[in-house]
Symmetry: C2
Subunit: 306 residues, 2 copies
Amino acid sequence: MRGDVIALDVGGTRLKGAVLDERGHALTTLERPTRATRTPAAVVESILGALADLRRRPQAEQAVACGLVVPGIVDSVGGRAVWSENLGWRDVPLRELAARRIGLPVVLGHDVRAGALAESRHGAAAGYRNTMFVPIGTGIAAGMVVDGRLLDGDGLAGELGHVSVGHEELCACGAKGCLEAVASAAAILRRYRSRSGAELGGTQEVVSLAAAGDTVAGAVWTEAIDALAAALAMASSLVAPEVVVIGGGLSLAGATLLEPLQSRLDSRLTFQRSPRLLTAALGDRAGCLGAGLLARSAMAETVGVR
Amino acid sequence: MRGDVIALDVGGTRLKGAVLDERGHALTTLERPTRATRTPAAVVESILGALADLRRRPQAEQAVACGLVVPGIVDSVGGRAVWSENLGWRDVPLRELAARRIGLPVVLGHDVRAGALAESRHGAAAGYRNTMFVPIGTGIAAGMVVDGRLLDGDGLAGELGHVSVGHEELCACGAKGCLEAVASAAAILRRYRSRSGAELGGTQEVVSLAAAGDTVAGAVWTEAIDALAAALAMASSLVAPEVVVIGGGLSLAGATLLEPLQSRLDSRLTFQRSPRLLTAALGDRAGCLGAGLLARSAMAETVGVR
């Protein structure tokens, strides 16, 4: 498809936008807080305002479409943001609202699935047909590419953070045993605080303390890795990725995370394919780049271009 | 695609074949034991002999292709039967051997994925875009249709029997905790025997004993249902099926299995889509019908017909 696209990735705390050319290069970028207030309506207005800002920039003159990606449950066919725990909305017709505001066709997608698309086309998983992208931050989710196609499942696929790994702690979703409740960056900090009484600034401090022999930090970190290995083993049995790209804040731990995780995952699998674990290559640009890819691919389908 | 197809489903104990017309109706059928001896070579010869038998029948005169489905790990792109625990083979170029024997193009596929295709086109899951077919017999596997497409994953997707549901029993695969080790029909009978000393003829007897108040049978049955609920909850989080079709011998228990399983599955899921559980509609014909669908769809791709 010819022409540039406007791309916006709506995160829990930041909006990251850009105008992207045909090769995915940013002609101009935007970054700002997601919301001034905590009401869903204010968040929607903040998103529409960011899109309008990008649309008005001279670099957007050749833009022919817009890709918008959000967290939570997304009905990409109907163009509706169905639910987000972080942003508080329910069933917002975001595609239509955005299209009306900026006068361009808009594709609405899911942030993690868009990130998976970006990592599998241009990032760490480029060249593989069966991949999984697992950002680990406030929460945990998975974007899965199987047989070269991104799985959508009516916008519901990929809730890896809510598979049970067999513990008794309660998750924010209401269930017990969820991966996210012990292995997200937020859970690691919360669990360290509840056992030690000490508040840390980030998971890197837990990793450093564990390396220095702090037994509480060591236990919390080991439990997180074990839980991740259990969940990735399940996913490997079910969808057989060749590579799993770990992203999000926790991936900054690099080999300190990936080496023990790879070894525990390998030891859980017998005849199944054990995926190679890699850290994400695109960082926090994955969602925005993926939003651009979604817009481009939807437009290509519309005009019959491959 | 015009023309009839030869279809053969290779089970652990029986070969089930047919010549199918364009609507999937059987013009003639074949059923015989899979093997006279236990060597992989004898099994392969038995398969080729059954295909040659079908090919020679007058009803096969219009046959233009053949679909052959086998258990285990299947490389459908390369046409190789990579591995089967039951049949003992390793890396057999079955597609080429079969094509040479019968002089027709052959598609090699996986029995459970073929069954999933048949149930989702003509069986219990007809009309749904996101479905899962889970035959429960000697083992447990899953054929998954997501966004209307059958997942293959290089022939490795769908090993639901080998996700961990958190117990300490050893599975034949070498891992601990596998679903299959407590919830397959074979495991249910084995576990009843090891706790009671009594040998039963089938899982229906376990169900009847449990209903009559036998505490050992009740415990074995309940543990199997809990394990199935755990595994289906995990699969629901990951690939979000609308319906799950339960097949194989265990599905003959009907509502005795499905009602408690549905209720335990529903209670494990919070915000995720809870799939409706249904019993298979095509019985032991699913694999053979699916083999026919695979042959037809591969030929249609080759000749450019939709």
